[in-house]
């Protein structure tokens, strides 16, 4: 106690000026003239919409990834005081005064700039020299594609930042593991790894690849730990538990929390409501919730209902019928029953209303007390406006000749009796006596006579059916499929026995008073599932490319063109860096295989510790490149050059690793060493020159003349926009 009186309090600060300088240059390179151009550039048009929706608290679904990235961008907008009022309708549109362009682009630029010092640190932690680390940082610094991507309101630079952060913190953690496990620093870096991983996954699903790579590396290290017999069983268990919590439990929890915040923030109904189930929509403010609020929960005999197909593909729709009948003969000469059409209609309409009737009774109103319908009950479905019964029979459906036609029965007095009894089967029931509930129950209608199941076929009818969707009776029901399930969306107890009054009733809006609160987990599961399964129709974009084009950069993306001058922004990389990175990968793989085979024969070309450093560096960089690149060959979605950037970052980190290895272990005598250094200087200068040459396309200014632009077209496959005079 009072020790500080005897010894002075000393703070020794060690500041690596290299690192500081790199950070500053990085910030300058990424943030110079950040709010130029004040127009929507490329995918900003896409992310901007979501930022606006966040500002207005309107619910949306984006199939491109989890919500954390959008939230970060929206946070920028929030800080800048953005009110969300901007119409993100086309690339190149000028921003209005209320859009805080600078603060919207600030976060990607900051994260992009911080990648430079991160690269430096990673190489140091991999036990490479400060010279190599400086090289890696400079390569990242002068990479045109990374700069372009950081300077705009896009997510790749944020993703790359989190990926590098995760890698760095794992390396720090691992290096601490040897000397001081379970200290504060050890815990800090371990936890930071997990947090950074979950952030990376939260920004884009691509982050998952790096997360899995780190998990694999951690797994290998943990396996060595298990084999370490100097540790007691308890401490091994402690180590494993700590890793399990930090690298699995925390990321999962954080991922869930992103969704929690997302769903808490967005509580208003919006443009994508229709994709979600009725139950989900009912949990949003406005929209369906307003209509369904206070509906009776239990469907009873005499209920007036609308039936929505659960699948929602190709579009959400409701069981529908109208006065028109099936044509007597179809185009291909097949005949129909000529009865009233039954379709699935994607818009709200009074013709979507059906009345559930007890086959044994005549009345179409709900008795008092209401008699709820349970699983297995047999009902008739009466179309509200035309009072015809839902019917199916052994007539081929219009577009799916293997299935039965569904119609509303018209008695033509021919030998075709009405077959209008349907058994209600609640699929998501808990017991066999469950009551059919509004919105919550998913129901299958099984025809009593033919055991056909009411199903949405997904095909759209020709002109005579007004392009509405075909509904069929599936005879060979092959188990469970969502297209056979229906749920009650709007519901009220019918009161009017007279047809005229009933029509008035059907036209009036529903009302009542129970609200359905879905739990967070239910909403999360549904949203997550929708994000993963939602498919975009768009198959190809003008600037989309295939993964093979990426390694050689045979493609570029034109991001923005000045409305009058030739100033333009392109996603185009530093050609020399890309080529060197490819060469470095090749050299690494060849050398690695060579060493590996020779070591197996007990011939050691390099010292043992150098070998393990070499393996660790390669495992991380080549591994990082491979996991971020190869999966794209198996993806069927539209791909762009910017998907390659995370892989490229890892590949760039490999260049100084290979160079230092070559200079340390391969060129051992003095003469080649000198030549090597000279080459290095020349090579770095050329990289800088290439960066300077392409910087007009990176920063969008100064504007170049047509001739200058033509000179920049180094590859025939590049699309550089040249105005016609």
């Amino acid at each position: 106690m009072l020790g500080f009186l005897k010894q002075p309090v000393v703070v020794t600060a060690e500041i690596n000026l290299n690192l500081v300088a790199l950070t500053v240059i990085g910030l300058v390179s990424r943030m110079w003239a950040l709010s130029y151009p004040t127009a929507v550039v490329f995918d900003e048009v896409y992310y901007g919409q979501f930022v606006s929706l966040y500002m207005k608290r309107i619910f949306f679904v984006d199939d491109s990834g989890p919500p954390f990235g959008h939230m970060l961008l929206a946070f920028g907008g929030y800080l800048g005081g953005f009110d969300g009022n901007f119409l993100w309708n086309r690339i190149g549109a000028e921003y209005s005064m209320n859009v805080p362009v600078w603060s919207l682009r600030l976060l990607p630029a900051l994260t992009g700039a911080l990648c430079v010092p991160l690269a430096y640190q990673i190489l140091v932690e991999l036990h490479f020299s400060h010279c190599a680390a400086l090289g890696a940082a400079l390569l990242i610094l002068f990479e045109n594609s990374l700069i372009t991507q950081s300077r705009l309101m896009l997510l790749e630079s944020v993703l790359i930042f989190f990926i590098l952060l995760a890698v760095l913190s794992y390396l720090k953690f691992y290096n601490l593991q040897k000397c001081s496990p379970f200290t504060a620093g050890w815990w800090f870096w371990l936890l930071l790894t997990g947090v950074a991983c979950s952030c990376a996954v939260g920004v884009k699903y691509m982050g998952l690849f790096t997360y899995l790579l780190l998990l694999a590396i951690a797994g290998v290290h943990a396996w060595h730990l298990i084999g370490d017999q100097t540790l007691s069983n308890v401490s091994v268990l402690g180590h494993l538990l700590a890793r399990g919590i930090a690298l699995v439990v925390i990321p999962v929890a954080m991922y869930l929390s992103f969704f929690y915040i997302h769903l808490t923030l967005l509580y208003r109904s919006g443009p994508h409501d229709q994709i979600m189930t009725s139950a989900f929509q009912a949990s949003l403010e406005g929209g369906l919730a307003r209509i369904t609020q206070g509906q009776p929960l239990e469907v009873a005999y005499g209920s007036q209902i609308t039936l929505r197909n659960v699948l929602g593909k190709p579009m959400p729709c409701w069981l529908h019928s109208h006065k028109n009948t099936y044509p007597i003969r179809y185009e291909n000469g097949r005949g129909s029953s000529h009865q009233q059409q039954v379709t699935c209609y994607p818009f709200k309409d009074v013709n979507n209303w059906w009345i559930v009737k007890d086959p044994g009774m005549q009345q179409l109103v709900v008795s008092n007390p209401p008699r709820p319908i349970r699983h297995g009950h047999i009902v008739q479905l009466v179309h509200g406006i035309t009072t015809r019964y839902l019917n199916t029979h052994d007539v081929a459906a219009p577009l799916s000749p293997h299935s039965q036609e569904i119609s509303c029965y018209v008695d033509y007095n021919i030998s075709m009796p009405a077959q209008n009894l349907w058994r209600v089967e609640i699929v998501n029931r808990e017991s066999d006596t469950d009551v059919w509930k509004t919105i919550l129950s998913e129901v299958r209608f099984v025809h009593v006579n033919t055991s056909a199941v009411l199903k949405l076929s997904g095909a759209s009818l020709p002109e005579w059916g007004y392009r509405q969707l075909e509904v069929i009776g599936e005879k060979l029901s092959k188990g469970y499929h969502q297209s056979m399930l229906w749920n009650v969306e709007e519901h009220r107890y019918g009161k009017s026995q007279e047809q005229k009054e009933r029509e008035v009733e059907l036209h009036s809006p529903t009302q009542a008073d129970i609200s359905k609160n879905l739990s967070f987990m239910a909403r999360f599961t549904e949203l997550q599932w929708k994000i993963l399964t939602l498919k975009n129709e768009e198959t190809e974009h003008k600037y989309s490319s295939s993964p093979l084009d990426w390694i050689t950069m045979d493609t570029n993306i034109a991001y923005w063109l000045h409305p009058t001058s030739g100033a333009q922004i392109h996603l185009i990389g530093n050609v020399l860096t890309w080529a060197s990175a490819n060469v470095a990968t090749l050299v690494y793989v060849c050398l690695f295989l060579w060493y590996l085979l020779r070591r197996r024969r007990k011939i050691c070309d390099i010292p043992e510790d150098a070998w393990w450093i070499w393996v660790a560096a390669g495992g991380l960089c080549v591994g990082g490149w491979a996991v971020n690149y190869i999966p794209f060959f198996m993806m069927e979605k539209t791909l762009f050059l910017y998907h390659y950037l995370p892989a490229l970052t890892f590949q760039i980190l490999l260049i100084p690793i290979v160079l230092q290895h070559l200079s340390d272990h391969v060129f051992r005598s003095q003469l080649p060493k000198n030549t090597f250094s000279a080459l290095m200087v020349a090579w770095f200068s050329s990289i800088y020159l290439v960066y300077r040459t392409f910087s007009p396309l990176t920063y969008g200014k100064p504007a170049l003349s047509a001739a200058e632009l033509r000179d920049l077209r180094w590859k025939d496959t590049w699309d550089i926009l040249i105005r016609k005079q």
């Binding site: 017999q229 593909k313 190709p314 092959k478 024969r601």
Partner: protein, 776 residues
């Protein structure tokens, strides 16, 4: 059956643990050969080669804390009878189960309609196209031919009666190969685990599985595929166990046999590639071990490497190519598959209009032509009355590439500036089209001109849209195309079939090409045709003239360039790959998902739907399948515990070490096989069916045999000497009885059900519909 157990006082359980008389005989002899001193104390690492040799070492019997003379070996299988007698029984049972009621039902079942038909094609020598390589269908055809089937049955649709046609030969052939799976599995497991009971368990699982029986009884590719697959696994395991005597005759034999089986497996279906991968990984591991053995010289290593390259790469490749050579030699008549192939290919086929073709040699104005794209499996330039839908470029008539021959493929070649009539006038002189001419192509049926403009193409957004435009041949300047021949000078005439033509759009400078992408439903799933602004000489943008009709020109017999064999081979593979990727599930269609399979979620109807029909339903024996499923989890658990224990340096007894080696090494190999044959299906975009799981199921069954055998041995390890044998025996017996009993319950699935459905209490299958998704 001998019951004499006199010379066997305290035999280790394992080999003799099952009350099969023949096994007793073998075991008795083993016991007889082992002297009493050596009894129970053999450190038996198992015979290394073919189960017939063994190395022996003696150890002092029992440690201080081992009260009873512990058996150090589980299964000293030495005498031939001990291996062969159970094998004979297993084989007999297997054949009996597969051949019983083989001729029922006497009508076409399920995919017999395809493969039987293709067998007939071989007998009739008509050319056809299929997404699978030819070996399986060739063998079916051969079996049919040898058994006296004459190839006249049309195999139109499932349910057609065979009447007098001889179909038993083909079914019998498939059943024969299907029956061989059981002895193969038996031998594989025996070789890996050295445990007779494990082998018997695996074999009985396969014998009594209703799914395997059903799948083996019909004219299908699966029994043939699985035969080669299991053959490859067996021979791989056998040659691995000869590793201590490399380059011996036996070693060469098994190595070559592995190669032959691999060729067979990929020759039947491309799924065979997974077993190639399994053998490949095994070989890499093998070579890696050899490389680490410093006692081997580099020359020996080179020999090892070369031997494997030769037997496992070159030999299968040669055999695979041979299959195609035979395929093309046999099928020399024109048939339904012609249109998928290039003009040059078609000229080989007797009866095709390009065979010994006789057409006007040079292209002239007014000729009616068809144009075929030169890319592999490219189609004919095609148009039809339908328009591009709204939102897809301009709303004009569709132009596509179509793989089949059709009158909508016909185009009339015209001068760009003159009218239609003058070429039809018989009096006018013939004018030839020359390299560099500007022409117009008019679609014969719809009289619209081939047209392009600066709208995005429907799929390839970077290209321009190609449409049919104009009325009765009158269009605009966007209908003009310059025709060029690759590698010729301006002004030369254009040869039919032989010239490679390029059509350049005059206004935009783009080139007419086929992107190879399939259009959605509105385009009838035909292939997209675009105009590409990137000027490259790829086959996508090259065409040749195939049909050429011009009454004013004399027909000249042309010997079209006959394609070389490698070209044909490459082309047919391209066509197959495209065909495979074209098998996409349709929207809202209920399809089988890979996760359904191991849980036996849903089967396939082979025959019959209604109560009165003779129904056969492909469904695994649920008891067996769920046992397999549980076993996979159990195996993983055991493997993890064992590896962690070893890694933590836990001291194991010699027996446990032996057991964990079997578990990790041999079980691991089988597990890898299961993974390789199952996981890839999750990534496949094509339509999947339940029967795709059966190769993986074979591995899963073998794993079950090994795992339960090891588990029981682990468990009884801590029991006293007298009890352990009995416990082990009862454990195995319970499993066997369970399997046999479940087979008794479910056998009607394979051997046919008539009468009410299972939901009816009167049905013989009542109460057995344990999952609602089963449809019997």
């Amino acid at each position: 059956m001998r019951r004499n157990r006199a010379p066997l006082p305290a035999m280790p359980y394992g080999a003799d643990s099952l009350s099969l008389g023949a096994v007793r005989g073998g075991a008795r002899r083993v016991g007889a050969r082992m002297t009493l001193a050596a009894r129970c104390c053999q450190a038996e690492t198992g015979p290394r080669c073919g189960g017939l040799r063994q190395r022996r070492s003696r150890r002092p019997a029992g440690g201080p804390n081992r009260p009873c003379p512990a058996p150090r070996s589980w299964a000293p299988l030495e005498a031939p009878v001990g291996v062969w007698a159970p094998l004979a029984i297993v084989t007999l049972l297997s054949f009996a189960s597969r051949f019983s009621r083989l001729s029922e039902p006497p009508h076409v079942c399920w995919d017999e309609t395809h493969f039987g038909k293709m067998g007939s094609y071989y007998i009739n020598r008509t050319f056809f196209f299929d997404v699978h390589p030819p070996l399986g269908k060739m063998l079916i055809g051969l079996a049919g031919y040898l058994s006296g089937y004459n190839g006249t049955f049309p195999f139109q649709k499932p349910g057609d009666r065979y009447e007098h046609h001889n179909y038993i030969g083909m079914r019998g052939f498939c059943a024969f190969l299907g029956s061989c799976l059981v002895p193969f599995a038996y031998l594989t497991v025996l070789e890996l685990s050295k445990s007779l009971s494990a082998a018997l368990l695996a074999a009985s699982i396969l014998i009594f599985d209703t799914g395997c029986i059903t799948l083996s009884q019909y004219i299908l590719l699966d029994p043939i595929l699985m035969f080669f697959l299991m053959g490859a696994v067996l021979s791989m395991v056998k040659y691995n166990s000869c590793a201590d005597r490399p380059f011996s005759a036996r070693w060469w034999f098994w190595l070559n046999l592995t190669g032959v089986n691999l060729a067979g497996a990929i020759g039947v279906k491309f799924v065979g590639l997974f077993v190639v991968l399994l053998v490949g990984l095994n070989t890499v591991y093998d070579l890696w071990k050899l490389l680490g053995d410093l006692s081997l010289s580099l020359v020996t290593l080179g020999k090892h490497l070369l031997a494997r390259v030769f037997c496992l790469i070159l030999l299968p490749l040669v055999l695979y190519t041979t299959q195609f050579a035979v395929h093309f030699a046999v099928l020399n008549k024109s048939g339904p598959g012609d249109g998928f192939f290039s003009s040059a290919f078609q000229s080989r086929l007797i009866g095709n209009n390009l065979h010994n073709v006789s057409v006007p040699e040079h292209l002239a104005y007014g000729s009616v032509i068809t144009m075929k794209n030169l890319r592999m499996a490219g189609g004919y330039l095609h148009s039809h009355w339908h328009l591009y839908p709204e939102g897809v470029g301009a709303r004009q008539q569709q132009v596509t590439a179509y793989l089949h021959k059709d009158s909508n493929n016909l185009w009339i070649i015209k001068k760009h500036d003159s009218n239609t009539a003058d070429h039809l006038d018989p009096a006018s002189s013939v004018e030839f089209v020359r390299h560099g001419d500007v022409i117009r192509l008019e679609h014969k049926e719809t009289s619209r001109n081939l047209h392009s403009h600066q709208h995005e193409a429907p799929m390839t957004r970077k290209h321009f849209q190609v449409t049919g435009y104009g009325i009765n041949g009158t269009g605009d300047s966007n209908d003009f195309w310059r025709i060029e021949v690759v590698g010729r000078k301006a002004g030369k005439r254009i040869k039919v079939l032989r010239s490679q033509i390029r059509l350049i759009h005059l206004a935009t400078g783009c080139i007419l090409g086929s992107s190879g992408k399939t259009l959605p439903k509105w385009g009838w799933e035909q292939v997209e045709v675009t105009c590409t602004p990137y000027v490259k000489d790829t086959p996508n943008a090259l065409w040749n003239i195939e049909d050429h009709i011009n009454p004013k020109l004399p027909n000249i017999s042309l010997d079209v360039l006959k394609p070389s064999f490698p070209e044909i081979l490459l082309e047919s593979h391209m066509v197959m790959i495209r065909g495979n990727s074209g098998l996409k599930p349709k929207e809202n269609e209920v399809t089988s998902k890979p996760w359904h399979w191991p849980i036996n979620y849903q089967g396939l109807r082979f025959s019959g739907i209604n109560e009165t029909d003779y129904r056969v339903y492909l469904l695994g024996n649920p008891v067996i399948w769920w046992l397999n499923l549980v076993t996979i989890g159990l195996y993983l658990l055991m493997a993890i515990c064992t590896t962690v224990a070893i890694k933590r340096g836990v001291q194991l007894t010699a027996e446990l070490k032996e057991l964990s080696k079997v578990l990790l090494h041999c079980g691991g190999q089988i597990m890898l096989g299961w993974l390789l044959h199952y996981l890839p299906f999750f990534m496949m975009g094509r339509v999947l069916y339940f029967h795709h799981y059966f190769p993986a199921m074979l591995f899963s069954s073998m794993l079950t045999g090994i795992t339960w055998d090891t588990l029981l041995k682990f468990c009884v390890e801590h029991l006293s000497c007298s009890v352990r044998r009995r416990v082990y025996l009862y454990g195995m017996l319970t499993l066997m009885l369970l399997i046999v009993f479940s087979f008794y319950l479910f056998h009607p699935l394979s051997y046919g059900m008539v009468g009410p459905m299972a939901s009816d209490p009167k049905s013989p299958m009542a109460g057995l519909r344990w999952l609602e998704s089963w449809e019997f």
